[in-house]
Amino acid sequence: MRGHGWKWLLCTPALIVLLLAASGPLLIVAVYSFLSPGNMGGVSWEFTLEAWFRVFFRRDIFEPDLVEWNTAHLQVFWRSIWLSLQTTFICAFLGFPTAWFIATRPRLTRTIWLFLITIPFWTNLLIRTFAIQEMIRNNGTINAVLMWTGLIDSPIQMMFTEFAVLLGMAYVFLPLMVLPLYAAMEKMDFSLVEAGYDLYASRLNVLWHVILPQVKPGFIAGSILVFIPAIGAYVTPRILGGGRTMMLGNLIALQFGQGRNWPLGAALALLMLVVVVGALIFYLRVVGRNDEVRRG
């Protein structure tokens, strides 16, 4: 038998590119989070925990010994988590019936409906955010329609609010919820549903005790697939939100722009990574446990 060398050889070119332009730079971020900020951006090579300190706390300008919570940052963290959870919930609320609708169509039309969900999934996120912007601007479609019908006299301010960010994120991430839910429903055993009805279960009971347990893995997968990009969102809150509704991604970017505090930005980026990896580990553990239950 030949050794394993040739397998590694075939993978090496791809691994080199990935190490150089994806994984390696992440290690540099970790190092930078322990350095001091340079004057004009960049870093000066002095070890300090200041960046990590400033992620959560801040010192009084006049009395450096007076330490208080960095409420501005905490507010952004809370907004990121809260908006991401709300986005996940909205996507689940709309995505579950949608996936069900697709999964219960006849085979031929099912492909078409599925394709209709896949198209937005592969079209540019920026363009879809732009489409939402056009809808909710002060002189956008929604306000124009509402004013034309006479329901309102002056435009409702929707842009640059948390509502706008929420709407945009739910809109762009919805397919990520529908696709795994559909995959789970497609594999579902509908004879169990029939058995439920034969035993005089109500629709609600069948939904709760028969359907939901079967599609639970798809539910969890969809929630994770929506939650992770929502936590990492940058483009959508940048366009629809603005300065007062910043999310974590925008706060990170700010440190590399006007903020000129690269170590703080690096520390915040690592914090985001920790949240994302945490969500992934949670997902793997839950799914792993489900698999065990099924096999057992």
């Binding site: 995505g95 949608t98 937005p120 879809r128």
Partner: protein, 268 residues
């Protein structure tokens, strides 16, 4: 009076929510496309059909520049990623488990798991350091960043295709005195083509859509179409932006449809 037959697949209100969802999903895009053909500047009042905004987009040299740069970058990065992913797929598929395999999978899939903003600032830091050392400010950084980001997307369909290939075909070629190279050239490679094509197209679309990574890696004068649009969206937008977005959408739609058709015929 005939009563509707009891259907086990029906749940009250689900159909309605689904239809509303589909309408909400497509309405903004349809309106965006519609107003790209508007005669006037308004994005909410229809003033008659016109192609003037497409004309404006075509005559805008900046738009032309960034579009060509985007296409060039997408072809280059996706092409490179496809070659690398094909090699990696050959190295990791249809071979028993080997030491380090999990690490290879983790590395290949890493760009899928890390938020783009984190990859973006990581590359910003790295590229800034290299720039100081070497003084090189060319397109190489963007090509490398996009290639790395495209590898997992190119790898998935290629690997999926390889896994469905029948070992017996290569064995038959060997029985007929084909050398391993001939067997690969005339049997394995042609059979891999649909997967490779699908991988290239996925990579192409991903590279074309990538905005955050490009935004942080690009040097001055290296705007791509998405970063150009991102910059423009902060100002007052005219339907010219709708026209650009519509063309962009049309391109994505063509590629996604082709991808759908290629991967669906896999079974045959």
């Amino acid at each position: 009076m005939a009563r509707a037959r009891f259907s086990i697949t029906q749940l009250p209100g689900f159909g309605l929510i689904a239809i509303v969802t589909f309408v909400m999903l497509y309405l903004p895009i349809i309106i965006l496309v519609m107003f790209s053909f508007n005669e006037g500047v308004s994005q909410s009042r229809w003033e008659g059909f016109s192609l003037q905004w497409y004309q404006a987009a075509f005559n805008n040299t900046q738009v032309r520049d960034v579009s060509l740069r985007s296409l060039w970058l997408a072809v280059t990065a996706s092409g490179l990623a496809t070659v690398l992913a094909t090699l990696a797929a050959l190295g990791t598929t249809r071979v028993g488990r080997f030491p380090g395999q999990t690490m290879i999978y983790a590395l290949i899939n890493q760009p899928l798991m890390v938020p783009e903003i984190v990859t973006g600032i990581a590359l910003l830091i790295f590229v800034a350091a290299i720039k100081v050392q070497t003084g090189y400010t060319g397109m190489g950084y963007l090509v490398a960043a996009h290639t790395a980001f495209c590898i997992p997307f190119a790898y998935l369909p290629i690997r999926a295709r390889l896994e469905t290939l029948d070992h017996a075909l290569e064995a038959a070629a060997a029985d007929l005195y084909a050398s391993p190279i001939q067997a690969f050239r005339y049997i394995t490679l042609p059979l891999m083509v649909p997967g490779i094509l699908a991988g290239f197209m996925l990579g192409f679309v991903i590279s074309l859509d990538t905005v955050v990574i490009t935004e942080f890696v690009k040097s001055a004068g290296q705007d791509t179409l998405p970063t150009y649009m991102l910059g423009q969206l902060r100002r007052t937008v005219t339907p010219e932006m709708n026209a650009i977005a519509t063309l962009f959408l049309a391109l994505s739609l063509v590629i996604v449809t082709a991808f759908f058709l290629i991967t669906r015929t896999r079974g045959r």
